[in-house]
Symmetry: C2
Subunit: 394 residues, 2 copies
């Protein structure tokens, strides 16, 4: 059985961009790689077959959503998400923390203590508690290839003092996450005093799968000293990779670039780095240039469902009236299924009358667009022409 | 260029069921055949590629919807629906009458005169007029392979007197429909006094396509004498085929069977017969047994989007809680993409959280189910075992 691992193939000579492969038991991921989001165990409107055709190597499912619906017990019956969703390639889950702090907060106050987070479901208002241990148990049961440690998602804007307190909690939770994760990987290891907190349904009874990887999460908000402290702390722990969190929560692009820049020098070369929640074209170039390997984002798929479609120069809003008669495809040179078969006029019509096929054709185009861009970026690193490609695009 | 035509291959020895081929310039249709409905120029949620895989030979687009959105002028830019929707197989349109009488009526009163029907759009309340001539012009511009004559859709329930008046108007409109249609087929023919009524944008300027077929529509409500009178009148006109209308507007299955039974003896063997708006499993057997060749219905696709899925014995409502953990496919023996890849639990989840993929997977299953059933029926007629198949199913 293939274990999780990262292979650094090549470094760009002029930037920190890098080419690599993440090995997982469900296959390899060529990096840099874009990771579409399948929040509720589906990349909205598409089948796994289509994701394959679009070149998706890895996608992201949200633990918070799975926990609430259909519930972890349902997924366990299928021995994990792969079989439940019929996806046999690599899969990533998050800790659930971000959704607790964002979605559940819309329902009522979220109660945070050192133990964990108490919140109300955004579906029905029912009360629930997430802890580092339960998050690890649920991700284990979901069977994804890459898990993320449970962290305290620092709000924004935030004072230095509060950001520090939040970061320190993230660090304590990182240790507990790692410990709990290991108790699943190495059943001989006594999970000790944390054991009782593991939901009896969560992983404890399952066949151990020693290959599931865990990424540590780096926080610290917009403060350089905190970001560096967090990077040092988390990178010193025995995680399989690292996720940089809290950089897409309302900050400017400058703040995001700063946060990534501060953190990167402290991350070891031989482990993969993931950025949570970012994926616009200029961001992608910035992230890859800084040395990020994978990045997830709902943006391409969410924009698609609103009728906003990528083209090489900008984005077009297909719902605008002047597309009514437009016989061109979305983008002339695009090789996606949508552009090969349909006109802007047809897409405009589908959106105008709110037809399901419209959302789907738009999603196909936007994912294909980002996949092609990132594929071009990989090629450019290989041929030492990353900066030239960036100039061509931006 | 292949012209429209019908080839009767075989008649069942014990019933009026028949096996045939409808030839069209966009390909052949093996009959009996089910015709899915793509109301707004899309069979909801599916691509033309998927329809092909599902074995769809012919589908139905509504002229009323096309006229309002995107508008006939848009479709004309694409030289018809085939290119607009990227569908290269046979296509059928209706006259628009049924939607005027049902959808537009929900907005306000529909004004019927001998000239035509004035109504308000169900989208924005704007006023429009449909006449036999304009309906023929629009269907011509839509470029479908089979058109239907503009008829007066008799309400239900209705007195004999009113049904007769309505039927007589249908007959006058049938003559005008045929005349207008011919003026497109044979540009040398002077459309005479009707010419001025043809919207200048409607067909007049297009390359003539002498192969587009026109079906006459038979009305007469639930009255035997009227149905027979209508069948005689319409079948004596030079239509390419016949559509039986008004049998699915609230009547019982018995009334539907009666109406079809009264009409059929008067229809010539050498022309195809279509039934408008019917497609449940028991109806399908009844219609085929009576000698119907094609039948359209929104039922399989509409039910799918509500989570109601066909199985061999009945229909299941996938939204019910007891499917939450069900690892079986919708139907064990089903070879459709959905049943080959996904469980009832996954479909239940998708419907529960209202994911677009759910509507799509359900639609695939229901269309495949009906297509397979009708394919089995064709095979049974070929082997003279139609009644045995019917017994097995009902």
């Amino acid at each position: 059985m293939v274990k999780f691992g990262f292979e650094l193939l090549q470094k760009d000579k002029r930037t920190k961009a890098r080419l690599g492969i993440i090995h997982t038991p469900h296959g390899d991921i060529q990096t840099p790689s874009f990771v579409p989001v399948g929040t509720q165990a589906t990349v909205k409107s598409l089948t796994p077959e289509e994701l394959n055709i679009l070149g998706v190597q890895l996608y992201f499912v949200n633990t918070y959503h799975m926990y609430l619906r259909p519930g972890i017990e349902v997924i366990k019956k299928f021995e994990g998400l792969h079989k439940f969703m019929d996806w046999d390639k690599p899969l990533m889950t998050d800790s659930g923390g971000f959704q607790v702090f964002s979605l559940a907060r819309k329902v009522s106050l979220v109660k945070i203590s050192d133990e964990g987070v108490e919140f109300q479901s955004h579906w029905d208002g029912s009360k629930h508690v997430f802890t580092p241990e339960s998050s690890m148990g649920w991700q284990w049961d979901l069977g994804s290839d890459i898990h993320i440690a449970f962290d305290d998602c620092t709000p924004y804007p935030v004072t230095h003092e509060k950001a520090k307190t939040s970061m320190e909690r993230t660090h304590r939770w990182a240790a507990r996450s790692l410990y709990a994760h290991r108790s699943f990987c190495h059943p001989g290891l006594d999970p000790g005093s944390r054991e009782k907190k593991l939901d009896s349904g969560s992983g404890a009874g399952m066949t151990r799968k020693p290959y599931q990887a865990l990424y540590g999460s780096i926080q610290g908000s917009v403060y350089e000293d905190l970001r560096i402290e967090s990077a040092k702390f988390i990178s010193n722990m025995d995680f399989d990779g690292f996720a940089i969190g809290g950089v897409s929560v309302g900050e400017s692009k400058k703040e995001m670039a700063d946060a990534v820049g501060w953190v990167m020098p402290y991350l070891p070369d031989d482990k993969p780095r993931h950025l949570l929640g970012v994926g616009e074209v200029d961001d992608i170039f910035m992230l890859v240039e800084a040395g990020i390997d994978t990045f997830d984002c709902v943006q391409p798929t969410r924009l698609a469902r609103m009728g906003t479609l990528y083209d090489k120069k900008t984005q077009i809003d297909i719902t605008k009236a002047h597309f009514e008669n437009d016989e061109q495809p979305i983008e002339k040179s695009c090789k996606c299924y949508t552009c090969q078969h349909f006109s802007r006029a047809y897409l405009h019509h589908l959106f105008h009358v709110r037809e399901l096929l419209g959302y789907r054709l738009a999603t196909i185009h936007n994912i294909f667009f980002i996949q092609s861009l990132v594929s071009e970026i990989r090629e450019s690193i290989k041929t030492n022409s990353f900066l030239e490609l960036k100039d061509k695009w931006l």
